[in-house]
């Protein structure tokens, strides 16, 4: 278990403020936020590369706040792989074993196991410069994993890769986590990667944590406009609220039962705004609108609607769109569940 407690860090042009996080054994923990939010800094701080000004970091109950990096037992994989260019792949992977008291035959077995699992057994005698991006990332993973780190820190492990490679490495990370049970802490700026890989997430903005929790929970219950936007709620509507009825600038919207503030924002995912089809009549909210424009996105369509003066965005299945000959100008009936309407208090970022 890694525990960051009220961590403060001040750099000339940036600071981390009051970072408190708990990463449990076996977690795949994601740190996510826009560029410059301080995600990578948290990793550096955990690694011991940056001086902490206030607060503590503990690993399995031991305070490691002042421990030098080499004594922390955390692994790191950087976006740019950071392989040692002067060493062969084998020597890269074995680099750390020289500093640990490991039995040679165990190291050899572990190496064999890892390079098989990562599919790099044929690369052992190559120099890193001759490898592709995906191969480099695999070597970087093997180099960290061979030491069985208490946790593996991943700094945007997918950003430098092509889309095809990205899928490959994503699958690989997933399978490493599943099969080896390594605790992972990943920095990312893509929520879809987080969705695919992580079980817990913390959302950062300007050096502070805006929200954290289980991925599904943060995804479903963003606590601010910022998080709502970040987790893909593209419809954010100003509204005044009375009981469970919200008045937007266009139509009124039924909210889930519960206590709501008098004013604030409604956030709705585009994929939760559905076309009314036969057999789907449980929607609390049914409205009528006109398609203003559409964008083919491969598997699905982005659809923009004008609903009584309110601009809404929906994501609809490609098959449905084609079967129903939807196009700009078409009038459609839509519906969404009350529980898919998220209410955010007025004063959130």
């Amino acid at each position: 278990m890694i525990h960051l407690s009220h961590l403060y860090l001040t750099l000339p042009d940036f600071s981390l403020k009051d970072i408190t996080l708990t990463i449990d054994q076996g977690d795949f923990f994601a740190l996510i936020g826009p560029t410059g939010a301080g995600k990578s800094l948290i990793l550096e701080t955990m690694l011991g590369m940056l001086p902490v000004h206030r607060g503590t970091i503990s690993l399995n109950g031991t305070d490691i706040t002042r421990l030098p990096p080499e004594k922390r037992g955390l692994g790191i994989v950087y976006q740019d792989f950071a392989l040692f260019p002067h060493l062969s792949v084998r020597k890269n992977i074995l680099y750390g074993t020289a500093f640990h008291d490991l039995a040679p035959h165990k190291v050899e077995n572990h190496l064999k196991f890892l390079v098989e699992k990562l599919g790099i057994a044929h690369l052992l005698d190559r120099k890193p410069t001759t490898l592709s991006g995906g191969e480099k990332q695999r070597v970087a993973l093997a180099r960290a994993l061979i030491l069985e780190p208490a946790a593996l820190l991943l700094d945007e492990p997918l950003s430098a890769l092509d889309p095809v490679l990205r899928e490959e490495i994503k699958d690989l990370l997933r399978s490493i986590h599943r099969d080896l049970g390594t605790t992972m802490v990943m920095v990312s700026h893509s929520f879809s990667d987080v969705f695919y890989l992580a079980n817990k997430v913390a959302i950062l903005k300007d050096g502070s944590i805006v929200q954290q929790g289980e991925v599904e929970q943060v995804f479903d219950q963003p606590n601010s406009r910022f998080t709502a936007g970040f987790v893909g709620m593209r419809n954010i509507l100003e509204a005044t609220i009375e009981d469970n009825r919200a008045q937007t600038r266009g139509p009124a919207v039924i909210l889930p039962a519960g206590n709501h503030p008098a004013g604030g924002f409604l956030a709705i995912r585009p994929e939760d705004i559905c076309p009314l089809r036969a057999g789907h009549n449980g929607f609390e909210n049914t409205l009528s609108g006109t398609i203003t424009h559409m964008a083919h996105q491969g598997f699905y369509f982005d659809v923009w609607l004008d609903v009584a003066g309110l601009r809404l965005q929906a994501v609809w299945d490609k098959h449905f769109v084609l079967e129903h000959d939807l196009e700009p100008g078409t009038r459609v009936d839509i519906g969404f569940y009350a529980h898919k309407v998220h209410v955010l208090p007025e004063n959130t970022g």
């Binding site: 690694l47 030098p68 950071a82 040692f84 020289a98 640990h100 030491l147």
Partner: protein, 256 residues
């Protein structure tokens, strides 16, 4: 076969020629004037050979000292932030601007018996005035900024992340330096030593004050020029420049 080079490119080239000419013309005249006979003759002059050998060895010694003591300094400057860092940077650059006679004078006045440091050195049997030691001290002084700045640039070019990774893999700072940083910065260090040696080989004004004898090649060249004239100084210059160039090429090749 290419995008048309504009008028501007030609202007650039035209403006660049004077400085290239300023280097190439005097030096080629210098190198081409001596006859083979004169070159051969001076090659048989033990005084010339000794002076060139002395220049080479003292300059290399200075480069070696810079390597040993300048590498840690360069690494600190490249990797650490500390208050007063820009002051230290300015100090490292100082030898470039200090008038050469002043360098010699300053070092001599420290080394004399009228200064505690000089007495200490004398008690240890170390003499500066008129010794190889003194020459090496002077050459280290003038060559140091070249070594430190080049090595520093080399260290800066190595991604800090490689060192971070090494440490996260359990290597303490020292091991990280010797296993990762050093092998990767090696070429810049050699380049720095070449720059340092080159600067040291050329030094005259500071050396002549600290040591007239034993003579380094520039002092000999000066002495020959003033005492005998151009004809007897040129062959020495040609040999010195030639040997230096061979040395530098060799150093570069070794560092590959």
């Amino acid at each position: 076969m290419t995008v048309k080079p504009g008028v501007f490119s030609w202007i650039l080239i035209l403006f660049s020629l004077p400085l290239i000419g300023l280097i190439v013309l005097p030096l080629s005249k210098m190198v081409l004037t001596p006859t083979w006979a004169a070159l051969w003759e001076s090659l048989n002059d033990p005084v010339v050979l000794e002076a060139i050998g002395r220049s080479m060895t003292t300059s290399l010694a200075a480069a070696l000292i810079c390597f040993v003591f300048g590498t840690p300094l360069a690494y600190l400057m490249a990797r650490r932030d500390f208050p007063g860092k820009s002051l230290v940077e300015a100090i490292i650059d100082l030898p470039i601007m200090i008038p050469h006679p002043v360098i010699g004078i300053a070092i001599l006045s420290l080394a004399g018996r009228n200064h505690p440091l000089g007495r200490m050195l004398a008690d240890m049997g170390i003499q500066v005035m008129g010794t190889l030691t003194g020459i090496i001290v002077v050459l280290t002084f003038v060559g140091m900024p070249f070594y430190i700045n080049t090595a520093k640039a080399g260290f800066e070019a190595i991604p800090k992340r490689l060192e971070n990774v090494s440490r996260s893999l359990g290597a303490p700072m020292g091991a990280t330096f010797f296993r990762v940083t050093f092998p990767l910065a090696w070429q810049s260090m050699v380049l720095g030593m070449i720059m340092c040696t080159a600067r040291a080989i050329s030094e005259f004004g500071a050396v002549v004050i600290v040591a007239y004898h034993p003579m380094t090649a520039p002092v000999l060249i000066y002495e020959r020029f003033t005492a005998y004239g151009l004809r007897y100084s040129q062959p020495v210059s040609v040999w010195l420049i030639g040997v230096s160039l061979i040395l530098f090429v060799a150093m570069r090749l070794v560092s590959r």
